[in-house]
Symmetry: C2
Subunit: 329 residues, 2 copies
Amino acid sequence: MGRDKSADACWVGFDLGGTKMMAVVFDASFKPLGRARKRTHSKDGKEPAVDRMTRTIREALAEARRGDEDLAGVGIGFPGPLDLVKGVVLQAPNLGWKNFPLRDELEDRFSCPVVVGNDVDVGTYGEYRFGAAAGARCVLGVFPGTGIGGACIYEGAILHGARASCMEIGHMKVVPRGPLCGCGGRGCLESVSSRLAIAAAAAAAIYRGEAPHLAKLAGTDVSEIRSAALAESIAAGDRAIEMIVRQAARHIGTAVANAVNLLAPDLVVLGGGLIEALPKIMVEECAARAEEDVMPSFRGTFRVVPAKLGDDAGVFGAAALAANPEIWS
Amino acid sequence: MGRDKSADACWVGFDLGGTKMMAVVFDASFKPLGRARKRTHSKDGKEPAVDRMTRTIREALAEARRGDEDLAGVGIGFPGPLDLVKGVVLQAPNLGWKNFPLRDELEDRFSCPVVVGNDVDVGTYGEYRFGAAAGARCVLGVFPGTGIGGACIYEGAILHGARASCMEIGHMKVVPRGPLCGCGGRGCLESVSSRLAIAAAAAAAIYRGEAPHLAKLAGTDVSEIRSAALAESIAAGDRAIEMIVRQAARHIGTAVANAVNLLAPDLVVLGGGLIEALPKIMVEECAARAEEDVMPSFRGTFRVVPAKLGDDAGVFGAAALAANPEIWS
């Protein structure tokens, strides 16, 4: 535990997403005591965003019957590039932030240490400490969403390379000269297997009349094609959508195999909304392809499993990070 | 240092290859004191091979004016899958070994600790401690030879995943449905960029009459097309060979970019005979492609450099491993 505190000592895990934010208050044994959510309102600017974060934390504290004076630490999972040492958000296109000292801003408002980590790092760490990856020696986390994030927990520490957060498996080249990726490259895993890539292929299938159920649920606007709708349409018999999802999962399997060849994890945990909506198809296809593509001596040495904590992986991991900042290896 | 020993204390670094073996004796400040080499004679079986290793070590000790009693530890770099904890060679097709307890066999013959590591791990560690990668926080080593091995030194420790040696960058899929690889897969980096893959493409170019200089130096037998001959033919103007080598280096660059996205190293060191023979072409092409393929936020964050220690990287690294066994993270 980070500090010697009273019996009422608590830690906050905070998940700051592009569309919503969530704070959960935990006691010293990581029992959730209270929680609060708000929409991010990303266009409001920096100060209002930090104000909203502050109010969200105070609401969660109130629900937990705790005050600022009980707060021993705040951990934040953030979806974008960070300077981990300084707790500075380098860039957050969704929030309009650039070189924003998020850690210092929050430490000014709460008189406790604040630690800012990458969202997939803390989500994977949450699964490692409290979920599907508990007890593994080397965990690879892969979280397909709008993009595809990765993380590696190695003997209890979060790997983060020479200076930055790392494990950017979403930008592994899996289709040479393939589709344009958000990073400017071509054929990155993200460009063929993210929820956005799946939504785009699904929208085309809807347009071609191949996905009648999804057409009713979502239409051809990619921003309306969410993971739950994909799952529902497949259950209702939209075969084209199932094929699109399976193909995306197979590409993830190839990327996982490449990463397994490098890192030799004993466990690969798949998480995020797409996996939560479609755990069977995604995990099954990904695991089969990974086992096929990995080098022979690594076959049978790792398992691919779905995450267990759902949306809470990030807040659990962020709170654990706040309580044990030394896990930044 | 591992043990408290007299002023004459020494460590042996041993490089056990498929064709030759080399032992170098070092003092406590890693100054080389003596060395010996022998051919491996891989068909002789286990006992004769361990006998030859023993004699090679004793010859190096004699040259160093040291005896068995001065020997504080032996480190061995081995080119194949290992059980690192038990020091057991799982497989060595070239040597005909399977589940061979190499560590225990040598500890029986020398009354000092023996540690067995992967050859690329110890080679990269040698470059990290004494060569081109000194001082880097996170080093990716890539050694193209008959196959292509990788290694990662992370904050001074050799990464080795959940149980095995890892960083098998040679089996990253860079050409989907590409050429058959020795591992049984298709389109692995090894299948397009190893010295063997280059030699095969070069043999075809010779056969087609496109590489007159290499034709004179080597002929169409792939086992005769060594790195030095490739370099000489390119210098003499065999343009087809240069194009083959550059293309191979570009594939290595793509694989390096994928690995940089995952590991965020500050330094990538390329080593092995092919790099030693063709440092400029290999490093230049690989670095350019890696910089192009890596995700934008990682551009400019890493350097690609050739190894400095040549054939000695392995013995330096193995001796350092013997003296500091805790670096097996």
